[in-house]
Every structure is written in C-alpha cells, then in structure tokens.
C-alpha cells in the first residue's frame, strides 16, 4: 500500500484498503476556525448531540476575520467562544494567540505524522507536508465528526509527482507547485490524493513542503502528502511530545499515475486571472501593472517567505502607486520576523504589516480590491471576486516575485532585479 492507503487502513481498523473502497474512519484531530465554526456548531446542536466525542482532539483557531471587523463577525466569534467553554476545548487559539490555522496547527504540535486530520477549511491538505492524511470537510460533516468522531471516506487513487533537479536562483517551491497545477489542471485530481516525492522535495524545508501540499486542493485533490523523513521528524520533535508511529510507503506501493518533473530549467511562474491553473512563466506576463502586492496567507506567509521577500526589499521602496500588504502567518512567525529585523525592512520600504490573519486572501477582511485593480499575491486562489471586486484581477506568484513586482510596480521576474 502507499502511505495514504496505509493511514486510511489504520484509521478504519482494517489490514488493507484499496482505492475506491468506502471506509468509516476514526478521526485523530478535527479543526474549525471562526468562519466555518458557527455553522458546524449550529449543525452539531441540530443533530441533538450534547457533548463532543473527544474535546482533546478538537482544535479551534480564529484566523479568517481577526480581530473582528464587523459586529456580525464579532457575534460569530462569540458563538464559537461559548462552544469552546461549554465543551471544555482546551486547544483554542483566540485573537492574538495563534494566527492562520494551517500554520498554527503544526506549530503548536497538533499535526502528527500518520494521523487522520480533518479541518473545516479546504487548505487543511497543508498538513500532508508532515506525512499526515489531512483533508478539508464542510460544516455538517464536521458536526458529525464532533458528535461521533468518525467520517466516511472513499480511499482515493493516488498520483505520485516525482520531482528531481535543483532550483535555479530565485525559483522556489511556490513556482514548482504553480507549474504542477498548470500541468495537472484545476479538475485533474478530483477525488484523488497526490504524493510529492523525489530529491527536490527531499531537499525542501518544511516551509516549502507546506506550500506544495497546501495547493493540492487547487487541482481538486483530496490531499497532498510527503513521506516523512529526517526533516519532518526534526520539526515534529520540537513541537510535541506525543508518541507516534511513522507511516511510509510499502516497497510495492502502487499509484494511478506517476508524473516526473525536472526543476533544472524551471522559471518563476505566475498564475493568471481567473483560474489557478492558468499558469505562465513570469517572462510572459512581465509588464502587467499592479495596484497591490500581497505577501502572506497559509500558502506563503511563513518565515522563509518573509525572509526572501525582505532580502529583496532591503533598502528599497515599494513603488509609488502600489500598496504592499505583509501578513505574517502566525504570532510566532510575526515575532521571529520582528526579532530578525524583517518587519523594519518592510516598514521602511513603505509596506503595511498586518496582524496574523487570512486577511486579503479571501476578500473578507483587509486589503480588498476595487473594480479594475490588479493584485499580485503570494496566496492560493485568483478566482473572480476572490479578493474583492469581481472586476479586479489577481495574479499568484512566489514571495520573491511579489516583492520584485512591488518594487517596480509591474509584474517582475525576480532574476531581473538581481544585484
């Protein structure tokens, strides 16, 4: 069996599972945030359930609308806080205590290799970076998990993406995953899992692997996953004392398809409006003028992302007419960026640094776009209306490309600014 099949077999108490099989799996960890939580809680009450199946296995994180930006969002926060108290949920990260859920989950030790994690957010697949099977579910499914601790799942077919080769200078894991999305296409992995493998992935940091797995949902995959190794274990051991068993692929693991890629000649990539799979090398879209540059999100708001963008912005200015918004993914990332002097670089460059939140990415809070405006963003979606007006345009790129573009005021190949 491959790693995904092995995790699902363990979680459903079976010796073996095969793709297409329906299993009822026990959930190890379930996560909700401030925007999907209220509906899940309402559904939980409608089911008639009184107590959650295991309060120790539930994590609640406020990140989408923090601090509350309207009376209505403040009310939603209240509903979730009351539930947290009522159900004695200890793993609760209120405003100022955590940050973006997909960063906080591993940071605070809630992601363990080999476990089955569900989150009421589509980018829950991010935790596959640590060798867990993690997938997004809706509010009613979450209510059912809260009530019973179990969920029916179809064992997915798995596509293995083998990546070899070194990255050219200023080419990053974000460029790699954008090119993979461009190759597989938005509907190319419906109901399927994706395993990222090969020496390029092995040599990647935890941050880079999270960026890769995060965007598995953009080809409609059920999850993205990387087999755990030394890099994974070094991270996990610093974050939790919880015992765990590493799950790896069997030597005879099978896949629906194997995709082989080489990064040697890969350029910085840009995903163009209005579809994530509309991916082009940056050279083809250079010269597009921008109004806003956003650095942040669960895809690229981590310390490495801030460091790489800051290395470009040091001693430079964001171009007049462009607003740059920097949002560290978590309180921990924020503090580290502060200690490393990165925030000072952003502020001196003329960027605004916001508090940890999903922020502009989902167009719900902060940094929305007006009709006709163009944004280059390190986030994960560029759908019509995603970041504000349906008449705005969003280009997705790496933190380096975002920083380079903020400096010049148009979409820019970071290699062209090399000093």
């Amino acid at each position: 069996m491959n790693i995904i099949e092995k995790i699902l077999a363990r979680a459903s108490g079976k010796g073996e599972v095969t793709p297409g099989e329906m299993v009822e799996a026990s959930v190890d960890v379930a996560m909700i945030h401030d925007l999907t939580g209220p509906l899940a809680i309402e559904s939980f009450r409608k089911i008639g359930a009184k107590k959650v199946w295991d309060s120790q296995r539930i994590v609640v994180i406020f990140d989408h609308l923090v601090p509350a930006n309207s009376e209505r969002s403040a009310e939603l926060h209240s509903i979730v806080r009351e539930f947290v108290i009522e159900q004695k949920i200890e793993k609760f990260y209120d405003v100022g205590r955590g940050g973006i859920c997909h960063q906080v989950m591993p940071e605070k030790g809630h992601v363990i290799p080999g476990e089955l994690i569900v989150g009421a957010d589509s980018h829950t697949c991010t935790y596959g970076a640590f060798g867990a099977f993690a997938t997004g579910i809706g509010a009613t499914d979450m209510a059912a998990v809260f009530a019973t601790g179990a969920l029916w799942l179809k064992v997915p077919n798995v596509i293995k993406v083998n990546v070899e080769g070194r990255f050219q200078r200023y080419v990053t894991p974000k460029d790699l995953i954008l090119s993979i999305v461009g190759e597989i296409k938005a509907d190319g992995a419906i109901y399927k899992g994706i395993e990222f493998a090969g020496s390029t992935v092995r040599n990647m940091s935890v941050d880079g692997r999270m960026t890769m797995c995060n965007m598995a949902i953009e080809v409609s995959a059920k999850t993205g996953i990387v087999e755990p190794d030394e890099t994974t274990l070094n991270y996990i051991k610093e974050r939790t004392n919880k015992p765990f068993q590493i799950v790896k692929n069997d030597p005879d693991a099978t896949y629906e398809k194997i995709l082989n890629l080489d990064t040697t000649n890969m350029e910085p990539e840009v995903s163009c409006p209005h579809s994530v799979d509309n991916v082009k090398p940056v050279s083809e879209v250079a010269e597009v003028s921008i109004n806003q540059a956003f650095l942040g999100s669960c895809t690229n708001g981590r310390i490495e992302d801030l460091r790489s963008a800051a290395s470009f912005l040091k001693g430079k200015k964001v171009r007049n007419g462009v607003r740059m918004i920097v949002v560290p993914a978590s309180q921990e990332v924020y503090l580290q960026a502060l200690q490393e002097g990165l925030l000072e670089i952003f502020l001196k460059a003329g960027a605004i640094v916001g508090n940890p939140t999903c922020g502009p990415c989902l167009g719900g809070h902060l940094g929305l776009l007006a009709p006709g405006e163009v944004c280059i963003s390190s986030s994960n979606r560029n759908f019509v209306g995603r970041m504000g007006s349906p008449k705005a345009q969003v280009y997705l790129a790496s933190p380096l490309t975002v920083a380079a573009s903020a400096i010049t005021g148009k979409i820019t190949d970071p290699r062209a600014l090399e000093t």
């Binding site: 925007l35 209220p38 089911i47 509907d187 579809s275 979606r381 209306g385 995603r386």
Partner: protein, 165 residues
C-alpha cells in the same frame, strides 16, 4: 422526481463565485446568503432560480473552498438539484449533507441547453430532457447516500439515528 428549468454554466464553477467570501459572515442566515448566490458569475441567478431550478454544469462544479454556504445558498435560492459532469469533492459532500441532490451526469453539458425542461429521477439515475425529448444516464448514488438524501440531509439522518438508539 425533480422537475425544473435548466440554468446552465461551464467548467470549474468555484465556490468564490457561488458565494463570495465577503458574504460568509451571513453564514447563519441562509436566505440572505441565497440573495448573493452566483453573484460573480450571473447577477440574475437569484431571480432565475426562484420557484425551483436545476443547475447544469461541466466539470469540477464547486471547486475551491470548503464553505458549506455554497450549496446552502444555492438550495435556499431555489435550486432543487445540480447535474454536472464532475464535482469537486467537498462541495459534493456538503450538498448531500444538506439534502441537495447532486448527480454526475456525463454529456449533460452538450445535451442540455439553458432553459430546457428537465425531469430527474435521482434514485434511478435518470435525467429526462423534455425540451429535446431525450434521456441521459447519471451515476446512481450508493444506498447510504440515498438514505441521507431521503432523510433530508445528514443532520436529520444522524438525529434519527441518535433518537432510535
């Protein structure tokens, strides 16, 4: 049997156009959500769907976010059923859980025009296009999914299970 007029869209209709992020604070008010359904793609949608309609789409309907407000908004706008060539999995589960029938129906994009009169037999997996006088096959739903739909969604389904214990 479900009958209604087809409202037709293309491939990769995503949850951000089905219900934009800025309206998610209306999460506990489905009727308010419904007024903004499909706003980014089709500003006339809410009016068209009133009184019952069937959405017909291409591949990967409902891709993107896990927001259950997407099928919730469609259902409360008057959508009785969604027929697509394929669905994004979270949307698919969410719709079933809310008691909104969703059927994979190969060729539905090419065989149904906007405004065609359709009759859908969910259990049999059959779609009749009365306007063109032809019948299409849809993938039949497994028994346990039919049970959830027949109960009106997962909440009612689980409530009954808990009560019968």
């Amino acid at each position: 049997m479900i009958s209604g007029k087809a409202i037709k869209y293309g491939n990769n209709v995503n949850t951000d156009v089905i219900i934009p992020g800025k309206y998610l604070i209306l999460t506990l008010d489905p009727m308010e959500l419904a007024k903004h359904a499909m706003e980014g793609l089709d500003p006339l949608f809410f009016r068209k769907a009133q009184g019952g309609a069937i959405i017909v789409a291409g591949r990967n309907f409902g891709c993107g976010s896990s927001r259950e407000e997407a099928p919730l908004a469609l259902k409360h706008a008057g959508v009785k059923c969604v027929l697509a060539e394929s669905f994004a999995r979270i949307f698919y589960r969410n719709a079933i859980n809310l008691g909104l029938p969703v059927l994979e129906c190969p060729r539905v994009s090419s065989e149904v025009r906007d405004g065609d009169e359709l009759v859908v037999d969910v259990k049999a997996g059959e779609v009749k296009n009365k306007s063109k006088n032809l019948t299409l096959r849809a993938t039949q739903l497994p028994e346990f999914i039919m049970e959830i739909l027949n109960d009106g969604g997962l909440i009612e389904h689980l409530r009954r299970r808990i009560e019968s214990k």
